[in-house]
Structure formats: C-alpha cells, structure tokens
C-alpha cells in the first residue's frame, strides 16, 4: 500500500534494488540446498575413506576424523571385485556397440524412407519402452536358460542389446529428423549411393546424437542390477550384483560396501559431468519437444 504513494521512478529503483539483493540471496539459498541435496553421496565418499571401525561407528560423523584406505583394501580382499567390474564393462561396452549400430541403421531407415511397416515398428518400439523390465526378465530367463547361456557374458549382452535397440532407434530418429534431407541429396549428386551417403555424410553429422545414444545405452547396461542378478551367478557376475553382496545380515561389511559403491559410481558421476551436454539433450529430447 505504501508503494502506491511513491512516484513511479522511486518505485522502480527500489524494486530493482530488492531484486538485485534477492538474486544474491536466492543464489546463496540454492547453493546451500544443492549441497544438502547431494550430501548423502558426499557422506558415502567420506565414509569410504574412514578407518573401517569408524565406518560402522554407532556415533557416525559426517567428516572423517582420520583418513584410511582400509575399506578399499577390504573390498579387494573379500571378493574378486576387479573381475566383476570387468564383466560389467565388457557386457556394457559390447551391447552398446551393437545397440548403436543396429539402432542407427534402423532409425535412418525409418526417418528417411518412412514406410507403413516402419511406423508399425516404431509404435511397437515405443510400447516396449514402457514395458516393465521384470516382465521381459521372466521369459528372457527361460530362453537364456534353454539356450544354456546362464552365467555367460553372452546372456547379458543379448539382454542389454534387446532392451537398448528400441531406445536407440527412438533416440536416433529424433536426431536424424533434424538433419535436412538436402544433405542426402547432395551426397547422391556427388555419386554416393544410399549406403555410402549414410556412412560418409549422415553418420559424421549426427555424431552428437550417436554419442548421446551410446552414453544412455552404456549407462543402462552398466547400472543394471535385475538382469545380472537373475542371469549370472559366478563367471559373469557384474559389479552391481557383487556390491550388493556386501550387504550381510550383520552389517559388518558396510565399510567395504561404501568403498565398492564409490568405486562403481564416482567414475560415472565425473564422466556424466563431463558429457552433461549430451545427457541433457537426450533427456530433454522426448519430454520437451514431444
């Protein structure tokens, strides 16, 4: 009510002043809240570098009182964690290469030469993205079992690829649709056929799209727990299943568990900050445009 009596000029400058301070204040509050928000993760990192007795102390502190690599040593002692990491990496890597390859080819076909069949497949593809993993896991388990592939890398590679291909198609189609058709036409005039123009012209232009797709495919496989739990036991056991085995009824392995959880996720976290541009474009593609 008071402000009504002021002249317009005064009102504006006062408003701007409040606004200026407001922004600093909002920045401060948001920074504090953001740090609070990720504090659970920082707490796990700190715990992993505490001495093992401090990690399971009944009076836990946020910051380590003492630094130690005991938990990391215990992690290596208790299980062949490196081979689990290797299993995770090799299955994620091969399934990513396969998914991106198959997905990019299919998406180009659907985006450029859209046929009725293509549309039917696209719709089914989208439906498959909505299917709960557990529903695929049940028949997958029976098929893999009857193929005698339980506890092999092949079992996981096949599974991850089959889940990722529809996703890769859908994501790549979004990128291909953004490339003008004139690119193909120019390449054709220069003497390329459809396949060489795809490889020499379209793929290089859509590298950011391929990178985004690869990142998402890799992360799905790397982070998977359900299929690895169901389809592997010893030889092909992945890191997620291995880490979950630190959870025993007596809580004694919680220290090494934090070390394993950090070793598993910190590289991913740093990498995802590095490639945030691609992740953001992939995540907002469907939701904002659609």
């Amino acid at each position: 009510m008071e402000s009504l009596s002021r002249t317009p000029h005064e009102k504006k400058s006062l408003f701007q002043m409040i606004r200026k301070h407001n922004k600093k204040f909002i920045g401060l509050i948001t920074t504090i809240l953001a740090l609070l928000f990720i504090s659970p993760y920082i707490y796990i990192i700190f715990t992993s570098i505490k001495p093992s007795s401090d990690a399971i102390s009944s009076t836990p502190t946020f910051f380590p009182r003492e630094l130690s690599i005991e938990n990391y040593i215990a992690m290596f002692d208790q299980m062949p964690i490196l081979s689990y990491f290797f299993n995770s990496f090799i299955t994620a890597f091969i399934s990513t290469v396969l998914s991106v390859l198959l997905g990019a080819l299919a998406a180009y076909g659907l985006a450029r030469f859209s046929s009725k069949l293509g549309n039917v497949f696209l719709l089914i593809t989208l439906c498959i993205r909505m299917i709960p993993m557990i529903s695929i896991a049940i028949p997958m388990y029976i098929i893999i079992n009857s193929m005698g592939l339980i506890d092999t890398h092949a079992a996981l590679i096949i599974t991850y690829t089959s889940i990722n291909v529809p996703f890769a198609i859908w994501l790549m189609m979004g990128f291909f649709n953004n490339i003008p058709k004139e690119f193909d036409e120019a390449a054709r005039i220069d003497g390329c056929n459809i396949f060489t123009s795809f490889i020499k012209v379209i793929l290089p232009v859509s590298l950011p799209g391929l990178a985004t797709t690869a990142i998402f495919c890799f992360m799905l496989a790397w982070n998977d727990f359900l299929f690895a739990l169901l389809l592997t036991s010893t030889n092909a056991k992945t890191a997620t299943v291995g880490i979950s085995e630190f959870l025993t009824a007596y809580n004694l392995d919680l220290g090494p568990m934090t070390a394993a959880a950090v070793s598993f996720s910190l590289p991913v976290m740093l990498f995802s900050i590095l490639v945030q541009r691609y992740i953001v474009s992939g995540m907002t593609l469907g939701s904002v445009k659609g």
Partner: protein, 293 residues
C-alpha cells in the same frame, strides 16, 4: 512394395530381426506361459490351465498388497519429485550468479545406478550406524539413537524406499522442468508485467500453464519408471518386513526365483504390462506423432 519402403526395410532389417528374436518372441512366450502351469525343473512345456493363473494372481492378497504398495510408491515419489524438482528449477531459472555451477551439482546424481542410491540410503537409514537416526537424535526430534527402525519397521520400510527414489530422480525432474521454463517466451512475462500482474499471479497464469505440457510428459515418464522400480526396493528391504514394502517387481521376481511359479509370475507380468501401457497410452501417442512428424 515401393522402392522407398524396400530401402527402409533393408536398413531396418538387422534391428528388426534382432528384436523379433529377443523381444517380441520373449513377450509372446510370456503371454503363452501365463496360460500354463510350468515346472521349472522338468523340460516339458507344462499343462494348459486357461486363465486360472490370472484368477489366482488377482485373488491373492500378496498381489493386491504389492499393487497398492506400487501405487503408493508411484504417487508419493512422483509428487514429491515434481514439487522438489519444480522448486529447484524455479530457483535456478532466476539466473543468479553461478547458477550453471549449482545446476551441475544438482545434476550430478543423474546417472547414478538405482542400486547405488539404495546402498547409500541403506547405510544412512541403518538403525545402528545410520547418520539419519543420529541427526534426528542430535536435533532432539527423537528420544533415542535407534528410535526409528527405518528398514525393519513395517510402517517406515516403504517410506524408506520412496526416499531413496526421490533423492535419485529429483534431478531428472528438475532438468526437464528447467528446460520447459526456459522455453517459455519472454514476451509472455513482459505483457503480464504491462498488465500489472504480480509475481504470484504471473506464476499461476503464465508459468504453470505454459509448463503444463512438459510437466505432464515428465510425470508420465517418471510414473512408468517408478512403477517398474526393483533395484532400490530389493537392496533396501527385499520387500519386507512382512511384505510391507513389496512392490510388483519384487513380488514377481520372488514368484519366479523363490517359488519357481513361471505361470503365475508370467500372468502377473502380463497384467503389469497392460496396466503400464494403459497408463502411458497418451504419452505413447504424442511421442509417436512427434518423432514421425
């Protein structure tokens, strides 16, 4: 077939063949199995039992319990994520100094495995060594160090799994809503200012309605994802105690692996698929149109 569709088919064929063998066939097998009584140990394909697997599932209290827990999980987790995500997105959208740095901090859990989120909260909510109980005690909220048995009390077990989900996926919600906010044309705000609308009015008459389409899609994506949750619940509680945090995914997993009931777990999986497809049909149609153009 025209020349165009032939070429389209050629490009699509490798992925198509792969999907037919390893996706459509499994789904068909799932549907078939749901009508059979199957013994995992023997090699024969089981005996046909009609829809009795479905009837048994629907009638079982555990299935209904798991369904209602899944619903609670989805509704509570997604609403909390939406509010928190919107809150952070609005704060970041003010464009204060250093907002892109804060955005990076907030987005850092984006790619963390659900399993790891489960492990983090398993550790923090531990009744003996957990820091959550210690903080609650230090701030005089609870009267003893282990006043709340987060994961082993049937009143808090489901809530604990929801907390881990909210923590993990709020960044996604924030990211999508922030992109939506940045897409609102600035001219809308300018004309609102000219019309003399205050901040609250601008928020309810400009920001929210413009954000609505993005919000609906984000809610749908998260609803489908939250309904499929497995890792977080499995690591934190395995559905216990006394099935109090049992969700559909964990119940089906147990029905398959612990009880070897292929038929019944398949029937439940089919029901689950139908439920999610119905839920997301609006979303599917709009995505289909967007990509097809």
């Amino acid at each position: 077939m025209t020349r165009e569709s032939k070429i389209s088919f050629l490009f699509f064929a490798p992925a198509g063949i792969f999907m037919i063998i390893f996706l459509f066939f499994p789904v068909l097998l799932l549907i078939k199995d749901s009508f059979f009584q199957i013994d995992m140990m023997s090699q024969d394909s089981g005996t046909f039992v009609g829809i009795s697997n479905y009837i048994e599932s629907i009638k079982s209290d555990r299935f209904l319990g798991a369904t209602s827990n899944t619903l609670i999980y989805v509704v509570v987790a997604v609403s909390a994520e939406l509010l928190l995500g919107l809150f952070f997105a609005l704060l970041l959208n003010t464009g204060f100094k250093g907002h892109s740095f804060v955005r990076t901090i907030l987005l850092s859990p984006l790619m963390i495995a659900p399993l790891v989120s489960g492990l983090i909260w398993k550790f923090m909510l531990n009744s003996q060594f957990g820091i959550v109980n210690k903080l609650l005690y230090d701030f005089n909220i609870t009267s003893s160090r282990n006043a709340i048995q987060w994961l082993s009390d049937d009143r808090t077990a489901l809530l604990s799994t929801i907390i881990a989900d909210i923590w993990l996926t709020t960044p996604f919600m924030m990211l999508v809503l922030l992109a939506g906010l940045q897409g609102i044309p600035i001219t809308l705000y300018e004309s609102a200012k000219i019309d003399g609308a205050n901040k609250i009015k601008t928020f309810f008459y400009i920001t929210l309605p413009s954000l609505l389409p993005v919000m609906v899609v984000a809610i749908l994506i998260r609803t489908v994802d939250a309904a499929r949750t497995f890792d977080i619940v499995w690591v934190l509680t395995q559905g216990g105690p006394a099935n109090s945090s049992e969700v559909l995914s964990t119940y089906m997993y147990k029905t398959l692996t612990r009880y070897g009931e292929v038929g019944e777990s398949s029937a439940m999986a089919v029901l689950f698929i139908i439920l999610l497809l119905l839920l997301s049909s609006y979303f599917l149609v709009s995505m289909f149109k967007a990509n097809k153009k």
